[in-house]
């Protein structure tokens, strides 16, 4: 594995150089908090301690994305025939993300890149993107990443992992994409592999030691779907819920979407927007019948999907990377760690 040392004095110059070949995305802090945004030419990524309110998923999966369009003008050829909307899939890099946000993309990939169908929009964007993570040296109080199979220095899904060494970044190159990106930045001070790996190991262990929050997921697999679905705790969990979409939108692993058509004059467009299982509209039939018409059914769906259906379907762990964003952003403090505990420790009363 290759390691590069990047002097922080060279950092900005390097990533500015990469803008010739890459569109850049990264954390940007404003008065309302930190978000992952497209970096305009004069904007640098915020490499500080703040976790972005939203995850990096929008870089691959924008909240609103035009997927198809067609002309409705009957005087032209191919009217009413839908075609793929043009989108720029030139190389892009997302910088300074939390490592588990890249791991989340790997989990989401299971949904969008399947043997039967490939979602071309998601797959093309994923293919075009270089993920540059920044190891988390000071995990926050809501970070429970290590207990769900990720962690503050998790490398899964990343192309480059940076470790902040005060004056320098030590970069671990994890893929050819990462290699190409660092080359485009002109970062080429190769350092000793063994020493660097040892340093990474120390930093990782140190960071993992500082994680104060844990969940247990060991017993989820052995319980049946129906057993958990019919458990007696859902009403209590759901009581406070206001059925907003916050938890699903801030979540790096939530992928559900809606498809909507719009017309403007003679142009028809088909969009996809993030959707949320918290909304009654998500499942409401045209007849008005709604299989998840009550709040408790929707709250249960979210947690069952993340902690049970996904686990059973893919056998790749739960659909959660432990970032804690939903815990922090939920207006009524519904805490996935508590729900996970209830599900994992649930024993059916006869």
């Amino acid at each position: 594995m290759k390691f590069i040392s990047i002097d922080k004095n060279d950092w900005t110059r390097g990533i500015d150089k990469s803008r010739e070949k890459y569109q850049l995305f990264g954390p940007v802090k404003d008065e309302n908090g930190c978000l992952i945004k497209k970096l305009e030419p004069d904007v640098q990524p915020d490499m500080g301690l703040h976790e972005s309110v939203m995850s990096a998923k929008s870089v691959i999966f924008p909240q609103t994305e035009k997927i198809l369009n067609a002309s409705l003008d009957e005087s032209i050829e191919n009217h009413h025939i839908m075609q793929r909307a043009k989108t720029d899939y030139s190389p892009r890099a997302v910088l300074g993300i939390r490592p588990y946000d890249a791991k989340a993309m790997e989990l989401v990939k299971l949904n969008f890149d399947t043997k039967d169908f490939k979602d071309p929009y998601w797959c093309d964007a994923y293919e075009a993107t270089v993920f540059v993570g920044l190891g988390i040296t000071k995990p926050g109080p809501f970070d429970f990443s290590t207990s769900v199979g990720t962690g503050p220095f998790c490398e899964d899904g990343l192309d480059v992992l940076l470790a902040d060494l005060d004056d320098t970044y030590l970069a671990k190159i994890l893929s050819p994409k990462g290699e190409a990106y660092t080359a485009a930045c002109g970062f080429n001070a190769i350092v000793d592999e063994k020493e660097s790996q040892a340093l990474f190991d120390i930093l990782r262990k140190e960071a993992e030691k500082n994680i104060v929050s844990q969940v247990k997921i060991d017993k989820l697999k052995e319980k049946t779907i129906l057993e958990l679905h019919e458990a007696d705790f859902w009403d209590d969990i759901a009581f406070a819920c206001i059925n907003c979409g916050t938890c699903t939108y801030v979540c790096p692993t939530c992928w559900c979407f809606d498809i909507q058509d719009e017309t403007k004059q003679k142009q028809a467009s088909r969009f996809r927007n993030w959707d949320t299982c918290m909304s009654p509209l998500f499942t409401r039939h045209a007849t008005g019948h709604n299989p998840r018409g009550t709040k408790v059914q929707r709250v249960r769906q979210r947690f069952m999907h993340k902690l049970k259906y996904f686990l059973d379907k893919y056998d790749q762990g739960i659909m959660c990377v432990g970032c804690g964003r939903c815990v922090k952003s939920c207006p009524v403090n519904i805490d996935i760690r508590e729900v996970c505990h209830m599900m994992n420790s649930y024993e059916k009363q006869d």
Partner: protein, 281 residues
């Protein structure tokens, strides 16, 4: 791999009012590109997304049969935004079809078996597809007895009436047509609800008999006990479910019952499978 969101362009070739209240119409589509028809190779029981640019899409069971070539047919109930728009479209209009989607009735498993088809109201579309498929000269010998119980509110609400009455005359299929009620003194078929007609007329189950049910939730709910009385086991009861869908390809996340996606793992499930999942349909 092709973009699964792009519909095949089709032209509306014919529109037929399917029920006396005009709430259902049958649309016959032809593919603008001949090769798309080849790609749209389907099995009875599958569905497709009817796709109207600028308006939206709706998942609808395919009513034509794989043995009918040169067109595809869908019978659509007017209820939401897209179906209302579709009902106002004209022959010759261009739109799209995306599919075929989902699984189908287990035709391999049904070979050399007795098949009982039970349908109610306008959920008879993929059942029509199935009957036409089974009655096709090339296929009929693959199945033992075929029984059909089909009911609607009134004679005028029965779908595919002409075909029903033709099948009625045949000896290789036992039709049990019923209506909830009618004033028509000449009505020569059953009167009564589907569950009751099933109990009275459907064959008793042996190991070689399977029932396929498609209908409104209430009919399905009350037909199950009738089938149980006749000895059908959970794995012998095959059902087609409906849920709100968008993508139709197992990605958008809304149509699940437990971990199964109705659009991709279904819409066809055995009662045995459904009983393992939350009843969120």
């Amino acid at each position: 791999m092709e973009n699964p969101y792009i519909p095949y362009p089709v032209r509306i070739d014919d529109i037929e009012i399917a029920t006396e209240d005009k709430s259902l119409k049958t649309f016959k589509f032809v593919f603008l590109n001949k090769e798309d028809e080849e790609k749209f190779s389907y099995h009875a029981g599958q569905f497709a997304e009817l796709s109207i640019p600028g308006i939206g899409e709706i998942p609808i069971g395919i009513a034509s049969s794989p043995v009918e070539k040169g067109f595809v047919k869908f019978t659509v109930f007017r209820t939401g935004v897209v179906t209302s728009y579709l009902h106002n479209m004209k022959v010759g209009d261009i739109m799209g079809i995306r599919g075929p989607l989902g699984n189908w009735y287990p035709w391999d498993k049904l070979e050399n078996k007795n098949v009982v088809i039970i349908g109610g109201g306008f959920a008879f579309t993929t059942l029509r597809s199935s009957i036409v498929y089974m009655l096709d000269p090339g296929n009929r010998s693959k199945f033992k007895t075929i029984d059909v119980v089909y009911g609607a509110r009134s004679p005028g609400m029965l779908l595919y009436r002409e075909e029903l009455f033709e099948w009625e005359k045949r000896s290789d299929i036992n039709m049990h047509i019923t209506v909830d009620g009618t004033d028509d003194p000449d009505w020569q078929y059953h009167k009564g609800f589907v569950p009751q007609i099933v109990e009275q007329n459907a064959p008793k189950a042996d190991e070689d008999t399977y029932a396929i049910i498609c209908g409104p939730p209430i009919m399905i709910k009350f037909t199950q006990p009738s089938l149980v009385k006749l000895g059908y086991k959970e794995h012998q009861i095959i059902m087609s479910l409906e849920n709100r869908m968008k993508c139709g390809i197992g990605m958008c996340g809304r149509c699940n019952i437990g971990k199964e996606l109705v659009c991709k793992d279904g819409p066809v499930f055995t009662l045995e499978q459904i009983n393992q999942t939350p009843k969120e349909y």
